[in-house]
């Protein structure tokens, strides 16, 4: 091109910024990351942080209140439960259960839902019809009731809860991925890849998936939070994780009879649960905002 010499006024500023910089500037992401990061750190470092064995019972030291209470002692900073187990240790170890559940369910349901959604959105036609029917059928099932029934039949345990929730909670992944894929599929860069002779797997994995990824992240965080809450609910009903595992939901259930005498037994795991889910949801919201404004979207 014979473009003439340009007398600069100022170059066009593209104030895109790296994703990391945009994340650092987003208060939701920062708050969410801090909360989730703290819980992850606690879960990883639980053996180092916990002052006692979370399973060790001492019936002589039952129901000691937390340290801010008049009768609190530093030996058990958050007190003990009705079996005399150190509550701080149990809460710290409980983070492991919640994160394990949230992550595993997210991965299992994410894989199922994303595969179905991508297939329905990309292939369309009859494939879409069949998958849409499966999604609709799944949406007609109440998750909590089915989970309760399954767990009641085969008996509650950590793997059963994870598998049950994982196999049930893929619906939102599938719905969101399907519509996002449909949108991206009709764009010219996908057509250009087809015209270049690209294989289906290359188009789906290289052209479509990276562009529907922001949607995936948002759904994944919402689902992880919801899985954690569902596990707590199942455990509370006695149909989730079984004692003596220190699950926050189970801890609340075990404390429900003592609610009026020893309120902290419910308040402490409840607060931990709420903070973790809040953190995950804030992170999801923030990441959506960070990923969305990309040129024009």
């Amino acid at each position: 091109m014979s473009d003439a010499v340009i007398l600069p006024i100022e170059t066009v500023t593209t104030k895109v910024g790296s994703p990391a910089a945009r994340m650092a500037a987003n208060p939701s992401v920062v708050t969410g990351l801090l909360l989730v990061g703290a819980v992850v750190a606690i879960a990883l470092l639980a053996p180092l942080l916990a002052p006692h064995d979370p399973y060790a019972q001492d019936l002589t030291r039952r129901l000691i209140p937390p340290i801010w209470h008049d009768k609190g002692v530093w030996f058990n900073p958050l007190g003990t439960d009705n079996l005399g187990r150190d509550y701080l240790s149990r809460v710290l170890y409980g983070a492991r259960i919640s994160l394990l559940i949230g992550l595993s369910v997210m991965v299992i349901s994410g894989l199922i839902g994303t595969a179905l959604g991508l297939a329905a959105g990309y292939f369309g036609g009859r494939t879409d019809l069949v998958i849409s029917f499966v999604i609709t059928a799944r949406l007609a099932m109440p998750v909590v009731l089915v989970a309760l029934a399954v767990v009641a039949m085969i008996g509650g345990s950590l793997p059963v809860v994870i598998l049950t929730l994982g196999l049930l909670k893929w619906d939102r992944f599938a719905v969101v991925m399907r519509s996002a894929t449909q949108q991206v599929r009709s764009l010219d860069y996908v057509t250009a890849a087809e015209a270049a002779g690209a294989s289906r797997s290359r188009i789906v994995l290289g052209e479509i998936l990276p562009n529907v990824f922001p949607h995936l992240i948002v759904v994944a965080t919402v689902e992880a939070g919801s899985a954690i809450l569902l596990e707590a609910a199942l455990s509370f009903l006695g149909l989730g994780v079984q004692p003596p595992l220190p699950s926050w939901g189970l801890m609340i259930a075990e404390a429900k009879n003592l609610m009026f005498f020893s309120f902290w037994l419910i308040a402490i795991p409840g607060t931990a649960l709420a903070l973790l889910v809040l953190g995950i949801n804030l992170l999801g919201d923030g990441l959506r905002d960070v990923f969305a404004p990309d040129g024009r979207s």
Binding site: D3, A4, I6, L7, T11, V12
Partner: protein, 338 residues
């Protein structure tokens, strides 16, 4: 602007500026634009995307987005001040004495209402007329904009009409209250060429017949040449050249106007298959403002003086342009390089 002309002006705009708040700083979308539109004439604002032509029209109609602020030394409709008018006063004018036609009639018409409801509603709201009277006027106007069997069309919804018909409905709607001014923002850009010609012919005919002042905003120099009485060429938020259509195309003076015209393949003028003229570079960022001539970064005649305030030069009484160089000198330069 001559004061004698201003007295007949339906719309007067003097030193209009629009600034938009952006995360990167204030974006000066419109920078000191002045023009007027007189009764019975067609004035075109022409320029490429981002030149501020649409922002100018939205500023006149008080339809700017919330992040934008408008400043003007004078902004008057039929002698009455618009800049200081209240929301209610503006509402009483909009759709009534000043009407607007948009690029995409499908989004400008309410999809949940029939054509008839929308036409009747605008008349009843502004003219406090009865339903029957408004309906009669709607039928009359649909016929006038060339819609066959207007009575049946009244009961149809916008999605049942083709793009060309929808734009005819938009024109009828703009005419419902007998406006003094119509602002048409790219009214035919979404339409096919044959339909475009029909719509423009219709608009121009009605404008002449009813003596309406028409402010037409477009990027298409072909439309400008065929429809405009007077033209204002906009670049980077400012008017760089103003002239009658005949003068502008006969003797474009500003380097930007000349560049733009050289970019167009013109049958009989440009030889098929040969290279067209180009304007190198890109439009400068309007964030933070620009000193001097905004075109200098792309101008082949640019020199040191361009960075300072640039004088307005007169090619004739009605033909002004903003450039450091006199056009005669530039023409000589252009021929020397050609």
């Amino acid at each position: 602007m001559a004061s004698a002309a201003a007295s007949a002006a339906v719309l007067e705009v003097e030193d209009l500026s629009v600034t938009i708040r952006t995360p990167a700083g204030p974006l000066h979308a419109v920078r000191g634009v002045s023009f007027d539109v007189r009764r019975g004439e067609t004035v075109c604002l022409v320029g490429e995307s981002g030149c501020g032509k649409s922002m100018t029209s939205l500023a006149i109609m008080s339809l700017l987005p919330e992040t934008a602020t408008r400043r003007a030394r004078r902004l008057a409709f039929a002698g009455a001040d618009l800049a200081g008018a209240t929301g209610a006063e503006i509402n009483a004018l909009r759709g009534n004495r000043m009407a607007m036609i948009f690029q995409e009639p499908m989004t400008a018409l309410n999809p949940a209402w029939t054509i008839g409801d929308q036409l009747v509603e605008v008349h009843r709201r502004h003219k406090r007329s009865g339903r029957a009277e408004a309906r009669e006027r709607a039928v009359d106007l649909l016929g006038k904009v060339g819609i066959a069997s207007p009575v049946e069309r009244l009961g149809q919804y916008p999605h049942q009409l083709s793009g060309g018909l929808r734009q005819r409905v938009m024109i009828a709607m703009a005419l419902m209250c007998g406006p003094d001014l119509i602002i048409a923002d790219e009214p035919t850009t979404a339409l096919d060429v044959t339909i475009q010609a029909q719509i423009l012919r219709l608009l121009a005919g009605l404008q002449r017949e009813l003596g309406i002042a028409l402010l037409l905003i477009t990027h298409d120099l072909g439309i400008v040449a065929r429809i405009a009485d007077r033209v204002h060429v906009m670049y980077a938020g400012a008017i760089v050249e103003r002239a009658t259509a005949a003068e502008l195309f006969a003797r474009p003076c500003h380097p930007y106007t000349r560049g733009l015209l050289s970019c167009l393949p013109a049958p009989g003028v440009t030889e098929a298959g040969t290279r067209l003229g180009t304007i190198p570079g890109v439009v400068p960022s309007l964030i933070g403002g620009i000193e001097g001539c905004a075109f200098r970064s792309r101008c082949e005649h640019a020199r040191a003086g361009c960075a300072q305030a640039v004088p307005v030069r007169r090619a004739s009484a009605t033909h002004h342009y903003v450039c450091v160089e006199e056009v005669a000198e530039m023409a000589a330069l252009g021929e020397a390089t050609a």
